[in-house]
């Protein structure tokens, strides 16, 4: 008898199963990214898949549950609890697919954070100069390189000192003579000098484009920028393909250690993700990769090391020392970025294994390091980071917020792209949901901002209690029981842009509340350790997953942010990407980024005895200590 095969519909992958293998194990072997937080124990209930053809055997009959899908044509089961014994066709719903591979357009860089005037003059990381040189003669015998250097310094004497590498020298004589000494020269600011990295025909250098990139644990965003004007040409977003290997950085590092080609595969995965995004972006703008001559990258320490193919084991093991903090300005070829091979790539410097370039970029963008008054920056991502300080000192802590607000593992969630619900309100009397979506497209799901609004609205209308538990007696058809747990229907099939029912489940609410609890507890403990209260903070910046459309009132209502006067709260969006944009465009910004690293101190919250207590107290709407939320307390 030949071994049974599993046909994965969405991934269009067909694999044969070994004896006693579960659907999850087959999927992992085949590279089909099914979410599993519990590692196949059957407890996290994230790996629900639909059996479209054939049937499976329960791994443990005692705990076995299956349910018929709404269309009646499939059976929903947990992939980790289903043994493959015959040929089956499996549909992996988007919610269970850890990585939604779709690249979408986003509008991310706006507002005060990307105001370049404070970082003038504009000095992009890589600049191009069209040089019309006079060919050497018997009277003018200076070398090819000196000819270029003198000409560049004549354009701008600030370019000194100039340097270059052997590779360029090897090509230089031909490049000049083939083009009659009329060439476009690209120089990259490598910190200590400007390096001449490319000499090519003027016609080939028809535009100067750059990339600002934010590689997050769960989400990757790239922004295409015109280096001459600083104008944004568009941005695209995609889930980080590495999610298939683990939800957080630690589990991914562990994964790389378990196999010989682990690091290589992890590197390949993030390169694929970036490739997808850049291909989409370039096609949309109708440009060629060679037109992109610079990139600035903000990423956490682990993401940076993975992208560069550096072993991240030391980040995980105590004392958590990464290979490097400040990285040299690399080339696109070295990084494996789809761009001009010699394009300069600036990586935002990291402070430690857990405070990466994304947070130093965020500090730069919010200008906390220049502020006179006390500021606080909360960057809510898979790993939440909190920075407090001013122009004299900076302190930073990280808290594991988890990817819930980024929508990972939440079927009703999506990125803030067309059709994402950004604001919602439930009216229990009329039993309707009022909402607004990105670009006014039909609603397809909730983005991070929408998730906050959803919790606030359901709590206010008492659909959920303060622990986030759905009130199963709530008098509405929207509250219903679905196999394992209670759920609240946000959109019926005829209301949603997908034609499917969109609902929020009990465990989604629990995940979201734990996320917000980690953030609030992190803020409270960091402030407490330094002897401050939330009210001592002059400006509190909320960055990361949440767009500037987030209503701060709602963020306070659910207890994501402390209850301080609202004018002190600023939702700033993706501050890491904004920082990358600034360093892409300005040498002053690049200098300040290095200074930030040297003035930032890391505080380890995991060693704080009060953190767990504060976390449990915060896992409540808005907080167990209601007196800390006087403006919310009814």
């Amino acid at each position: 008898m030949s071994s049974p095969t599993v046909n994965f519909q969405d991934a269009t992958t067909k694999v044969s199963a070994d004896d006693g293998e579960t659907i999850l194990e087959v999927a992992q072997r085949a590279g089909v990214p099914i979410v599993s937080y519990c590692g196949g124990q059957g407890t996290c209930k994230q790996c629900k898949v639909i059996i479209r053809e054939g049937s499976v055997q329960p791994k443990d009959p005692a705990s076995w549950r299956e349910e018929t899908t709404e269309d009646g044509r499939g059976t929903r089961v947990l992939a980790c609890q289903s043994l493959v014994t015959e040929d089956i066709t499996v549909e992996v719903p988007l919610g269970a697919l850890g990585v939604d591979p779709t690249v979408r357009d986003v509008d991310v860089l706006t507002g005060e954070l990307v105001d370049l005037s404070e970082f003038a003059p504009s000095t992009p990381l890589t600049r191009q100069f069209a040089l019309r040189l006079s060919p050497p003669t018997h009277d003018d015998t200076i070398t090819d390189l000196d000819r270029i250097v003198q000409s560049l310094l004549a354009e701008d004497e600030q370019l000194a000192p100039l340097t270059t590498q052997l590779g360029l020298l090897q090509q230089l004589p031909a490049a000049l003579r083939d083009n009659s000494f009329e060439v476009a020269v690209a120089i990259t600011d490598i910190g200590v000098a400007n390096e001449i990295r490319s000499v090519r025909p003027i016609g080939a250098a028809d535009s100067s484009l750059g990339l600002a990139i934010d590689v997050g644990t769960s989400t990757v965003v790239a922004q295409l920028v015109d280096l001459t004007t600083g104008q944004s040409l568009g941005a695209s977003i995609r889930r980080n393909g590495q999610i298939a290997y683990g939800e957080d950085v630690i589990s991914r590092i562990v994964w790389t250690q378990q196999r010989d080609d682990g690091l290589a595969r992890m590197r390949e995965s993030i390169r694929d993700t970036l490739d997808d995004i850049l291909t989409h972006l370039y096609a949309q703008q109708d440009i060629a990769p060679r037109q992109v001559i610079a990139a600035s990258l903000a990423a956490n320490t682990t993401m940076t090391t993975f992208l560069l193919g550096i072993d991240a084991t030391t980040v995980r093991r105590t004392p958590h020392t990464p290979a490097a903090s400040v990285l040299p300005v690399l080339t696109a070829q070295e990084v494996g970025l789809s761009a001009h091979s010699q394009a300069g790539v600036f990586c935002h410097p990291a402070v430690s294994g857990f405070v990466g370039g994304d947070i130093t970029a965020g500090i730069l963008a919010t200008r906390i390091h220049r502020s006179e008054g006390l500021c606080l920056l909360v960057d809510v991502g898979t790993n939440g980071e909190i920075v407090i300080g001013n122009r004299d000192w900076l302190m930073c802590a990280s808290c594991s917020a988890g990817p819930a607000f980024e929508g990972v593992g939440i079927e009703a969630a999506m990125a803030a792209t067309a059709g994402a619900i950004t604001s919602m309100n439930y009216d229990p009397k009329a039993d309707v949901i009022q909402y607004e979506t990105v670009n006014d497209q039909p609603p397809r799901g909730l983005c991070g901002t929408g998730l906050v609004e959803m919790i606030a609205s359901l709590a206010e209308t008492e659909v959920i209690d303060r622990t986030g538990t759905i009130n199963s007696d709530f008098p509405s058809e929207r509250v219903r029981q679905s196999g394992y747990e209670a759920e609240f229907v946000l959109l019926w099939p005829d209301e949603s842009g997908t034609g499917e029912v969109i609902c929020i489940r009990q465990h989604d609410l629990e995940n979201l509340l734990r996320s917000k609890a980690a953030v609030l507890a992190g803020i409270t403990v960091l402030l407490g350790n330094l002897g401050f209260e939330a009210t001592d903070v002059e400006t509190m910046y909320l960055a990361g997953t949440f767009g500037s459309s987030l209503d701060v009132e709602k963020a306070v209502a659910i207890g994501l942010l402390p209850d301080v006067p609202r004018e002190r709260l600023r939702v700033v969006g993706n501050s890491a990407l904004a920082g990358a944009y600034l360093t892409l465009m300005s040498s002053k910004a690049r200098d300040e980024a290095s200074q930030i690293v040297s003035s930032l101190t890391y505080l380890d919250l995991s060693g704080d005895a009060g953190f767990m207590d504060e976390f449990i107290a915060s896992d409540f709407i808005p907080h167990t200590d209601l007196s800390r939320f006087p403006s919310i307390n009814k």
């Binding site: 303060r466 207590d613 449990i616 107290a617 409540f620 167990t624 200590d625 007196s627």
Partner: protein, 328 residues
Amino acid sequence: MPFTMPTERWTAAVQMTTIGATEADGGTRTSTVTLGGEETLPFLHWEGKTPNPPAIAIEVLDEAPTNWPEPLLEPYGDVLGDPAAWAQKAVEDFGADMICLRLVSATPDGTDASADDCAETIQSVLKSVGVPLIIWGCGDADKDNQIMPFCSQAAVGERCLLGTATEDNYKTICASALADKHLIINEAPLDINIQKQVNILVTDMGMKTSDIIMYQVTGAVGYGVEYAYSILERTRLAALGGDKMLQMPMLSIVGSEAWRVKEAWQSEDEAPEWGPLDNRGIIWEAATASLFLQAGTDILVMRHPEAVTHIRKLIAGLAAGSGDAQEA
């Protein structure tokens, strides 16, 4: 230099609560128990008012116990299995301030008694004694949600203590208590934050803070009781510091915890070095109870009459500040 006893002043006090309703208040109890009002830590009466000494409730099961050791069965004799008679003995012979009726017969894996059976038992106990009643479910969340509305109704207007409400299961019991004018016991798994969260959840449903008693699951001496001690103490410190959501009186289960540990029941043949079995359990129960008293507990739920006698003496001694405390 003369020694001056240092004193501490607190800004708030423990919430005052009365359990049980006499005829004047619409019930049939002949006595009530008032708790709380402390302005300082337990028994430090020179620092502030401590108007109401802790109360002792004796535990009565609604069916004959199957796993109690001999020294615990002995004082009750033939009343075991007859909850009304058991309760009467506990009050008249052993001086219980309250009866804690545990509806173990409702356990689905056990006798699986119906809601009507439980309600009937409650009414018979109410008739047989005049002290306030604690009505404690079987511990199975679904079953308790089934029986509690009937049990509550059977004692309508008596201001009983209904237990227990937990973070995951508080609505049914809270609704019953509200409807039938009872108080509620909010349970937490040795976590001060979760205790507070349950308190907030039930007050959100309309429960008055004066109708709430707090209960942290505990253990006995020798089994991690230090942790329970510090949780209770922290709760009390928070109450005195002004945290309104932690100012309710506290209840501790002592008897069943103490008699569960092997030191209380292992035979002399098995453990000769532990001395006679007769008083080992009693000592264990009294020692555990004395610990909770000092942590701030207001209601001790106990089992053995002799342990109750010891503790009553200790409470009296500590309240008076006399040397009796050491004697006990």
